[in-house]
């Protein structure tokens, strides 16, 4: 189906009768995908590999794709290169260096060379530090664009989660996002969910 035809049908509402998944596929055809990322521009090979390991530890491959598969680190590199200002970029890169210093002090090696248990311990430690830093940092304010975090680990999580959940796989497979729901139900039943809310 041609793009113009799709738009015409959409304007009349008749396309909305299609099953959402099919409709999404049709819509996707009508938009050009952005050029995919090439080699990293800000992260060096070691930093890239470290960030990749860390992101995969946060959002691993399960029955749905993990951070690596959807290219989280390419997005991080894009943000470091084109979005962050100098101060944010320096803070982020210093955070990666600090990560290795921590693992050297505790385990005698780079983060990348640590065992998975040691890596997990390190993330737990960073999490506790982040929690202490953000304690009493004010209310959750309304608005779609949440305030940008300033500590390395919060920055890292911000970029990792953003990259993942706004990716096609993250949106559609993980969150079951439908571009055109076609209806609003304010009190629908939650499908069975046995996962406890994280702390």
């Amino acid at each position: 189906m041609h793009r113009r035809e799709v738009l015409r049908l959409l304007a009349t509402g008749s396309l909305l009768q299609l099953a959402p998944a099919k409709l999404l596929a049709v819509l996707r055809e009508t938009r050009g995908l952005l050029e995919s990322q090439t080699s990293p521009r800000t992260l060096n090979a070691h930093q890239y590999a470290t960030a990749k390991a860390m992101a995969e530890l946060i959002l691993p491959r399960t029955d749905t794709p993990g951070a690596t598969e959807i290219g989280v680190v390419d997005f991080i590199d894009l943000i470091l290169t084109e979005w962050y200002d100098q101060a944010d970029r320096a803070r982020f890169l210093a955070g990666l260096t600090d990560l290795d210093s921590r693992t050297h002090a505790r385990f005698g090696s780079d983060f990348l060379d640590c065992s998975s248990t040691q890596q997990a311990d390190t993330l737990t430690e960073l999490g506790e530090k982040m929690r202490d830093e953000t304690k009493g940092s004010g209310p959750r304010l309304p608005g779609r664009r949440a305030a940008r975090p300033t500590s390395f680990y919060a920055m890292f999580r911000h970029l990792t989660l953003t990259a993942y959940y706004t990716s096609e796989a993250g949106s559609t497979e993980e969150l079951h996002f439908e571009m055109i729901p076609g209806q609003y139900q304010g009190c629908a039943a939650e499908p069975t969910n046995d996962a406890p809310e994280p702390k």
């Binding site: 113009r4 738009l7 015409r8 959409l10 304007a11 509402g13 909305l16 819509l27 952005l34 530890l57 946060i58 959002l59 691993p60 399960t62 997005f75 894009l78 084109e82 979005w83 997990a120 737990t124 999490g127 506790e128 982040m130 953000t134 209310p139 959750r140 304010l141 309304p142 779609r144 664009r145 949440a146 975090p149 919060a154 999580r157 989660l161 953003t162 959940y165 706004t166 990716s167 096609e168 949106s171 993980e174 969150l175 571009m179 055109i180 729901p181 076609g182 209806q183 609003y184 304010g186 009190c187 629908a188 039943a189 939650e190 969910n193 996962a195 406890p196 809310e197 994280p198 702390k199």
Partner: protein, 562 residues
Amino acid sequence: MSDENTFDAIVVGSGITGGWAAKELTEKGLKTLVLEAGRNIAPEEDYVEHVPEWEMKFRGMGDRQKLAEEQPIQSTCYACDEWSSKFFIKDKEHPYSNDPGKPFRWIRGRQVGGRSITWGRQSYRWSDLDFEANLREGIATDWPIRYADIAPWYDYVEEFAGISGEALGLPQLPDSKFLPPMELNCTERFVRSELAKHFEGERVLTIGRAAILTQEHLGRAACHYCGPCERGCITRSYFSSLNATLPAAEKTGRMTLRPYSAAHSVIFDRATRKAAGVRVIDTQTKAALEFRAKVVFLCASTLESARILLNSATPEFPNGLANSSGELGHNLMDHITAGGATALIPGNEDKLELGRRPNGIYMPRFRNVKSKHKDFVRGYGFQGGAHREGWNRGIVQTGFGADFKKALSRPGPWHFLFGGFGECLPNHNNYVELDKEKVDAWGIPTLRIHCAWGENELALRKDMATSAAEMLEAVGGKDVVPFQRQDPPGFAIHEMGTVRMGRDPKTSVLNTFNQAHDVKNLFVTDGAAMVSSSCVNPSLTYMALTARACDYAVRQMKKGDL
């Protein structure tokens, strides 16, 4: 003057009021020129509401460096994002100034459709609580109309635009001619019933009244709940001039729509003491052009209409056209916002929303309705609503790994927001003047804006935080957080006043039909005409006033009185 530059009517602006003026005047038989300063918009190319985040380079975070460079002011508006920033002006091309320490945030859209493409769509009738307020309190000047004068025109515009909402029968917020309301979600229903118990019916929570169709209406399709209306709507389910009134005007065959046409000034004919037409700068060629007409409607937005009149000074009107009162440019208002509270509301953890409802809750004004408040006059309404938290709650959590990921795949707790919209008092000292030293990209003098919140507004904001927190505590909310931000005037994007209506030509610029006291074929029907600001969203009232003024103007023309 060549025939091709001569019309029956000229409408300056193609936004929410310009669209209405275009529709009404052309349908009543007038050959009408609509001047739009910005570019044309082709919905099938420009609307981007169905472009998913993963097709956006910055995944919805916006091109930060570009926004900081080109749109430092505009990008502070939530709607000026990676998709919709093209519907906002480039700040560099449109400078303005304000007093040191008194910022005014001016959010603007210049394109066919104006800001009606990105507006919030909240649509409420004003009441006599609003129209009588100035007279009752001896503030500014009296409105020249009462609810009874405008009620039939609310009916008229609502029947065309399509307003969904719930009838409540409240005197302070008259019901519209409603399409079926959108649904409140479980937690909003819970909060509504709890508030009814705790506040004896004084604080009513209802679904927002919105210019969004909940059923097919006059050939426009019902909303399909994709969510981000500010990016456009290919099904034309929300009301904008681009989606509704301009196509109606186009259908008459009497509209000439001219984009890239920045109005410079109104041409005044000294012999007849009437407006002869409009001077325009073609923004592509920078050529100065003149268009003539029997009647001129300024619908350029509050501040732009004032600017055009200030820039139309003549020997007869040295301080701006139609300004014998000296009130032109004065009494600038905006709603005060940024006061409210948030909380988590326990319960309904097994329930969720399906679809993205482009609308929230509304709580009509409850202050100074039945009893008098000791700290302030007038009042505020609340907007907001309940939503389950999304994946981004995980950013500040400390978890990671498979269990963390699984938990984030489901929505989080119900989060509730009350955000106030408060009335701003008209004040002669909040005003704009022409800055001839500083011109825009087309050489047109810009505005110097002098505007600050007064004590009454700040007292309203304070009370918003207090009363919102009090309600969220009362309904059993957890982590209740009252907030007061210091947002400057302008940020509600409800700027009003500067060319006010009134009964007395000595104290007002426009009469009861939005007609300039001094220049009888000149009308101003956008937010500039407002005499007070109410606390409810103003666009529906602009629409009704515009349709009413067009009806009057055409009747006068037929009688030969214009």
